[in-house]
């Protein structure tokens, strides 16, 4: 019996040649305790750190396509196939929201409680929330979503990306720790570490667990029961 025709134009070897093929793409990026930004390579339970790509780094975010990192008063962004861009910025850390295409769309500076679209041409907005902002995301093209913790309760607040007005605010019933993905979806991960350590994304596929004074650990969202130690150093 003839197979149904779906005109899949296949040239497997040619397709490899045209795309990435086989590579050693990093799983994500870590800011080490010595403020070095280093790529994390490997597979589950077999991680290595690559050579530092930047120093004096206060925070970083990686979408799988674009890497954004923050030094004392500058913000850098590097997307695959493009030159690194630099913009001046307020001091302290930066939280980044990526669009569906993996490009940075908004930035929040916790120390100044300021946010804006990603780029110096955008307008600043003051964000006055009573709790601690944990992460920001874009649930859609026009909305900035903020995950915040107020006295142990997690809250979501939505703001218009253009104009900055608040559209929604709701308290979550999720137990700590809570993490929000790049689409603004939130979940609580009852990983095996216990307590309420901070969670953050390491690239697209791994969540980093950080407890003050301890080495970072990582787990995949689909397997919160398998928590692995991340390296703190390694050959350079």
């Amino acid at each position: 019996m003839p197979k149904p025709v779906l005109a899949l134009v296949i040239g497997c070897l040619g397709a490899f040649a045209q795309t990435e093929g086989i590579s050693n793409a990093p799983l994500g990026y870590l800011v080490t305790q010595s403020q070095e930004l280093r790529p994390v390579y490997g597979v589950a339970a077999s991680f290595t750190l690559g050579d530092p790509v930047a120093g004096g780094v206060l925070s970083a975010s990686f979408s799988g396509r674009c890497l954004v990192w923050k030094t004392g008063n500058e913000l850098f962004s590097s997307c695959e196939g493009e030159q690194t861009r630099r913009q001046s910025s307020p001091g302290g850390r930066a939280l980044i929201a990526f669009g569906g295409d993996g490009r940075p769309k908004a930035v929040y500076f916790p120390e100044q409680e300021l946010w804006r679209g990603f780029g110096e041409e955008h307008t600043w907005y003051k964000l006055s929330l009573p709790g601690t902002v944990l992460s920001i995301a874009l649930p859609d093209q026009a909305t900035l979503r903020i995950l915040e913790e107020r006295d142990g309760v997690f809250w979501l607040s939505d703001f218009a990306l253009a104009g900055g007005e608040k559209r929604k605010e709701e308290a979550l019933t999720l137990a700590a720790p809570v993490i929000m993905d790049r689409r603004g979806r939130v979940a609580s991960f009852a990983h095996t570490l216990g307590g309420s350590p901070a969670l953050d994304w390491l690239g697209e596929e791994w969540i980093v667990v950080r407890t003050p004074g301890e080495a970072g650990r990582a787990f995949a969202p689909g397997h919160p029961e398998r928590v692995y130690l991340l390296p703190e150093g390694g050959p350079q």
């Binding site: 197979k3 149904p4 025709v5 779906l6 005109a7 899949l8 134009v9 296949i10 497997c12 070897l13 397709a15 490899f16 045209q18 795309t19 990435e20 093929g21 086989i22 590579s23 050693n24 793409a25 390579y41 490997g42 597979v43 589950a44 339970a45 077999s46 991680f47 290595t48 750190l49 596929e205 080495a215 970072g216 692995y228 130690l229 991340l230 390296p231 703190e232 150093g233 390694g234 050959p235």
Partner: protein
């Protein structure tokens, strides 16, 4: 001649010849010899030993041709073979042993080339100190070192002594004492007061050594103002033997495993050790930097032994975590603890390609398949894709295959630090009803066989 000049001559060392001068050599210092030389007094049978040095202070070599000692109770030893040339500013040495056989004064004549020196010593009415060494009583010379040997700390060594009257008359034997009092050396059942001992009689006592701390210990045993040096070594408790205990008996590649070190018994002392690992890849395969202890990413970590505990402590607690990496081979652990140097190996056999994640994504105008995993043989050779429609039928054109040999070889050659890890992205331009696509099944082959993803849903 002035009085000053006379005094100066009196304290000058005796010249043994035109160029040679004679000294007593004590505690690293040359003391000029004047005749008569008093060697002191000791008990009959006891020994006084003196070291002499003949120095050539001239600018030319000279020869020692005569060196003789005569007199009851005296003996010379460690003396040079004659004739002996002594270089300019050089020296030669010899020893004199004085061992009186009775009480009274003993004299001897010492001749060094043309120099004659009278030696004087006395046998005093003192008891001889003797130590029981394996059943034999051996006389101990004044100032001699009495070696107790070595013992574990908090254990003891006993030494038996006697004070023997070797004179022909009764003598008073004074009780011995040890300094420092209350130290590691103690008198056992000491006699507390002076005793009269007749000829050939004796008084016995014991000294016990026991120390709380490790190290070389010394004390002075004093008998009738005669010092005897006591010396012993207290050894630290030995560290117990360590045994590697793995949480998993047969771990696989790409895993984080835990290892502990259990001690054969609870430690009685503190200590430290090192646990090392070395990775030996199978023939033709590269080293894998991912193999190492975590989180330090090193191949050697220290640990501590605590008194009372039968488990060692790593910086991360009672267990150390290590990564097994993604290359077939052998990890060899070396446990270094005290004198222990023991190895244990874990083998990681070649396997088919292991996939950590496999994702199929529908895009605009095509599909993309992303695989992340590792090949612990670095021998990936072929891949196939088979697309399926939602109605369960296979999509045209059916099986799509491609060789990977060259691509994998080039990748691993250009990335020698990745172990066996790889990420593969395959894009397939497609036209038609992409929404009808259900999923894709991928098979990827290395020399150990075929790995299958199962159905990856779009």
């Amino acid at each position: 001649m002035s009085l000053f000049l006379w005094l100066a001559l009196l304290i000058l060392p005796l010249p043994a010849s035109a160029q040679l001068q004679l000294f007593l050599h004590e505690n690293g210092t040359n003391i000029p010899v004047v005749s008569p030389l008093n060697l002191g007094s000791t008990a009959p049978g006891d020994v006084i030993e003196k070291r002499f040095r003949i120095v050539n202070n001239s600018a030319s070599a000279t020869t020692l041709t005569a060196l003789r000692l005569s007199g009851e109770g005296y003996a010379m030893f460690n003396d040079p073979v004659l004739p002996r040339t002594i270089a300019a500013n050089g020296f030669a040495e010899f020893w004199v042993r004085f061992q009186p056989t009775r009480t009274g004064v003993f004299q001897a004549s010492l001749l060094v080339n043309s120099l004659a020196v009278q030696l004087v010593g006395a046998g005093a009415g003192l008891p001889v100190l003797e130590q029981n060494q394996g059943g034999t009583w051996t006389a101990i010379a004044t100032n001699a070192v009495i070696e107790f040997g070595s013992v574990e700390r908090q254990s003891s060594i006993n030494a038996s002594f006697r004070l023997r009257n070797a004179t022909s008359g009764a003598i008073t034997v004074m009780p011995p004492s040890i300094s420092p009092d209350g130290g590691d050396f103690r008198l056992v059942s000491p006699f507390g007061s002076a005793q009269q001992v007749g000829p050939g009689g004796q008084v016995t006592f014991e000294v016990v050594f026991r120390s709380e701390t490790a190290g070389e210990k010394t004390a002075i045993l004093t008998l009738d103002s005669r010092p005897f040096r006591l010396r012993a070594t207290a050894r630290e408790f030995p560290l117990p033997r360590g045994i590697l205990v793995f949480e998993q008996s047969a771990p696989k590649n790409a895993s984080q495993e835990k290892v502990a070190i259990r001690l054969a018994e609870a430690a009685r002392t503190s200590g430290s050790g090192t646990l090392r690992l070395a990775f030996t890849p199978d023939t033709g395969l590269p080293d894998d930097p991912a193999v190492g202890f975590m989180p330090s990413a090193t191949r050697s970590i220290p640990f501590q032994v605590r008194p009372g505990s039968d488990m060692v402590e790593f910086e991360t607690g009672s267990q150390a975590t290590f990564q097994t990496g993604t290359v077939a081979g052998r990890i060899t652990f070396t446990l270094l603890l005290g004198s222990q140097n023991e190895q244990f190996s874990l083998d990681f056999a070649p396997t088919t390609i292991q996939l950590d994640s496999a994702v199929a994504v529908l895009g605009v105008g095509g599909v993309e398949v992303r695989l992340r995993g590792f090949d612990n043989t670095l021998s990936g050779s072929h891949i196939t894709f088979r697309f399926f429609l939602k109605n369960g039928q296979e999509a045209a054109p059916g099986l799509i295959g491609a060789p990977l040999d060259d691509m994998f070889k080039a990748y691993y050659a250009q990335n020698p630090r990745v172990g066996g890890v790889f990420q593969l992205r395959a894009s397939f331009p497609a036209t038609g009803a992409l929404s009808e696509l259900d999923g894709v099944e991928v098979e990827i082959t290395n020399r150990q066989g075929v790995a299958k993803t199962g159905r990856l849903k779009f």
